[in-house]
Symmetry: C2
Subunit: 429 residues, 2 copies
């Protein structure tokens, strides 16, 4: 914790000081933007309702220090490779430029654009994307639908289960989500048919973006794992449940997941999230202790970020009738059985090389309560319990025109509240 | 078929005309090399025991035509993006430069280096790597070990089963293969332990490298699928069977596979393979016909390449005693249940975007006979039938110091014989 976490320090950007603002001075998330009028863009930092064009500022000021020069790139990958000291130095410098009493206020003000005037792009070129399955509540719920006799497999409490996802189809918030086609075979049918997915779902997840990483054949001990995580974003792991049920054995989900994955475009740094740490999920009595390579008292103490997550739904009819989006899922990243540190240490435990800009998904964030279930599969219990919407409609799964909006934030007594912005996608047929 | 397939035309590079040469004039595979004396490198083409430094030749000659200028890049990705017409034009031009009666012989000769003087690098930057499971013999064998009551799952004959692999750990032939550690739990044990893999295996596969690909949300109809495949290589999908058995449910193999994948460095073009096409694997009576999006008479007629594949083993003792590597697996790509065209069309059927340089693995190539089983898991029947080696040793799985060498070639009466070179890796502890 350092001065950048001090909630008493305000910004000269007035909108950043509003109580519900996602991007106060204490947040400073990194992203990549493009001006809607096509007048350039690059790496930026969100402050209030403004984007600070850091790349242009660094170029124009002729800054050549390590923490700045990497911010003139088109994507954040090289900055991510530089590691926590550089990230922290850049954050401190940006904090000082944007604080109320900054002597550079007038200079910097020329590099601000209203968020409304920019479009956000992918902040990183993703080398590899891995999705985990770290909520024991989600795993148990889903398992009990697909394998009623055997809901939670014997490896779950030992192995942070994960699988490789598709990097090419990860898109930034706002991109349309085209309903995929694929093979589906209801249990009662004799043979599968090919056609549009009838059980389209969202999955409320958090993504972690990798910093320096490790060379092939080397490992990352758990105590160092967080040094390799730059920050977090929201992640919607759109899923075609009917395709998934038919294809997933024995090698896991494939076309049911890789048609699109949406992330929120602002990467909230681990340093910004520092004040919102809580002890990790406490394993119930009787659960095994993790093996030594996944055990670290400090990781468990520090490990979980108390990030509140919401998945909102807005149907076409709701928009027509000016009904506000409704929260379907409300959970916390703190409920995960495995921390990101454990996931990362596990991922590299066989020598698999993680690289700057790799993306790691948490898996669907579900908690114990019904409202905390992080996908429609769980909420509608595989379609058997349709959800009633304020528009008079019901939903088992997503219909064309439905927009799914994720929001996330962290708050704590005596601290600023910081948010993730939004992760949006609208389903098109 | 065109003049480049004419077996009667010889090269002025004498070694290319030897009867067992992998790289005659009719092959012309593309790769990326680096001179061992550090004097540069780039995109090259193999001819006999020589590498033609195409990149340097294009630069020095000031060639600016589309088929040439992309060959001055560091990797083949942009050339792959250009599509079959450009590939074919480049092949024809190279053929004419290297044929016996080429007027440019003396000019070109200055750009040749002995293969022995170069090291091969990764020919492509791989965006995404997908591994299929296209041998019904392999799937049935493995299934009967892991699920004796249910060896071949009901989806197998409908769905070209595939899953995402790890792109970052794909390496070029020759890189050491470090034995991974991970969680293993024998069925008789109460709990898993973490330690070095005790059941390290190879998988004899063929890789297909993607050319232009498709935009997100678009599909690739089967009739067009082969236009998106630049060429093939050998692929060793190293596997940790003990880790795999414990981790793979429900989301598929992860750390059991992603510690390293080795490919042969020369990409043999589909055009070079044209003479060795045979009708695809004939589904036994009673098997379902593929769904329409996977059905194309032309694909089935043209679809399979009759590429012979061998996996050789050389143990440390065998090398010490000057015993030649022994062929453990000998199969043919023709035995696959699904063609690469079907795999690609399936992969894109949900709108998943394939990109230039993506890698698609066939899955282990196993046939009906015992010798054609493409991995030790099958050959030693999960370790229950150890394999006797000419050195007096036995093997259930790979031991430290073991080198696995893949070779592949295509031959046909009245045609040249073309080969893939080697895909090598030595296991280190």
């Amino acid at each position: 914790m350092n001065e950048t976490h001090d909630p008493k320090i305000k910004s000269w950007v007035a909108s950043a000081n509003a109580p519900d603002c996602d991007f106060p001075l204490q947040n400073l998330p990194f992203g990549v933007f493009r001006r809607k009028n096509d007048e350039g863009g690059g790496i930026g930092v969100a402050i209030g309702d403004q984007v600070f064009d850091v790349g242009a500022w660094v170029r124009d000021q002729g800054k050549s220090s390590a923490e700045f020069k990497l911010l003139t790139e088109k994507r954040l990958n090289r900055f991510l490779a530089a590691g926590p000291q550089i990230w922290s130095a850049a954050r401190m410098a940006l904090f000082n430029l944007l604080r109320e009493d900054s002597p550079q206020r007038e200079q910097v003000a020329r590099y601000l654009d209203a968020t409304a005037n920019v479009e956000m792009e992918m902040p990183i070129d993703i080398g590899d994307y891995t999705d985990f399955y770290a909520s024991v509540f989600h795993a148990t719920n889903v398992g009990s639908m697909f394998r009623p006799d055997n809901p939670l497999l014997p490896n779950y409490k030992w192995v942070p289960i994960g699988y490789h996802g598709r990097a090419s189809s990860v898109v930034a918030s706002g991109a349309a989500v085209k309903r995929p086609s694929g093979q589906r075979k209801p249990p009662t049918a004799d043979m599968p048919t090919f056609g549009p997915c009838a059980q389209l779902d969202y999955e409320l997840e958090v993504g972690a973006v990798i910093g320096p990483g490790n060379a092939l054949g080397e490992t990352v001990p758990l105590r160092d794992a967080e040094k390799h995580i730059f920050g977090l974003c929201l992640l919607n792991d759109w899923s075609a449940r009917d395709i998934q049920a038919w294809e997933y054995q024995p090698l896991g989900p494939f076309l049911a997941k890789n048609f699109v994955t949406t992330i929120s475009p602002w990467l909230v740094t681990l340093e910004a999230l520092e004040p919102y740490r809580r002890s990790a999920y406490k394993r119930p009595e009787g659960d095994p202790q993790p093996l030594p390579y996944l055990s670290d008292e400090n990781d468990q103490q520090r490990g979980a970020f108390d990030v509140s997550l919401d998945a909102y739904l807005s149907t076409r009819k709701m928009r027509d009738e000016k009904i506000a989006p409704i929260s379907l899922s409300h959970g916390s990243l703190r409920d995960m059985y495995w921390t990101f540190g454990q996931m990362l240490a596990h991922h590299a435990s066989n020598g698999c090389n993680l690289q700057p800009g790799d993306l790691i998904g948490s898996g669907t964030v579900s908690g114990q309560s019904k409202h905390s279930r992080g996908c429609l599969l769980e909420l509608s219990w595989r379609g058997t319990e349709p959800i009633s919407l304020p528009s008079g409609e019901t939903r088992k799964f997503l219909e064309d025109g439905d927009e799914v909006i994720f929001r996330g934030y962290a708050e704590r007594e005596g601290q600023a509240r910081i948010g993730f912005g939004e992760c949006r996608g609208i389903v098109v047929g």
